[in-house]
Subunit: 152 residues, 2 copies
């Protein structure tokens, strides 16, 4: 996989984040890719589904359905924002070997832990991912606090 | 909360595990309790919902709905089996301060990590929880492998 592929798959995650924002939700999206094929995309659906566990990454992995271990272990997870512990733990459960992170300026919790377990974490530092989260922090701060288990 | 309360709430989790087994699924259950009140119960629903993220603990937390951070931070999570990284990460995301674990003989991954973040992890070593998992490992080994991201 080369840089152009990473860009294309991260753009799918960003599209999901934009959709999530337009739905009144948290603008974080993800894509799961195996061997150049997109298995699923997903987005944070806390608001849309009244969910406490549908972050961008977990929604994406849920949308991909039940997969053999061998598929997860040869896949890459693209996410617009650095994963929380829940999403990082999900990636470790399934031993997804590589995570491409849109940005980690507005939130970062799990990257050291992921790397300590052998996961490759590549941070793109994408300006649109940062802008999506900065608007979120400005306009929907209480929702963001809820999403990461903080008091508003 | 005293030992009798812990027993009562763990029994709710065990009841969920039994239901899950009878449905053809993975026999792991959970309960989330705040201030002596049961907020939700849940069970692994990989088979029942075709889900990759509905473990006992995450299903329970999802069933509890969107809660304020202050509620999670004063709750106890009861689970029949020691949490995988996904479920441990979910507990850490919401800063659930205490987890009561039915047993950790048949699976253990996250307890050291949870404790390193300040979570109290109390292991009951309950014979029925062990028996439920031993039957699972004997009769549905491929399903169990899938549930923890291993090759069958």
């Amino acid at each position: 996989m080369d840089g152009a592929d990473d860009r294309r798959f991260l753009d799918l995650a960003i599209e999901q984040a934009r959709i999530g924002w337009s739905e009144g939700g948290v603008p974080i999206g993800a894509a799961l890719v195996h061997d150049g094929q997109v298995l699923a995309v997903g987005r944070n659906r806390r608001v849309q589904m009244g969910s406490a566990i549908r972050h961008g990454e977990t929604d994406c992995i849920e949308n991909a359905g039940r997969l053999p271990a061998t598929v997860y272990r040869a896949s890459t997870l693209y996410t617009t924002l650095s994963p929380c512990f829940m999403c990082a733990g999900t990636a470790l459960l399934y031993e997804i070997p590589r995570i491409v992170v849109g940005e980690n300026r507005t939130f970062e919790a799990s990257e050291e832990w992921l790397r300590s377990h052998g996961t490759t974490v590549d941070v793109v530092d994408d300006p649109e991912c940062v802008a999506l989260m900065e608007r979120m922090l400005r306009e929907r701060p209480a929702l963001w606090a809820e999403d990461i288990g903080e008091e508003a």
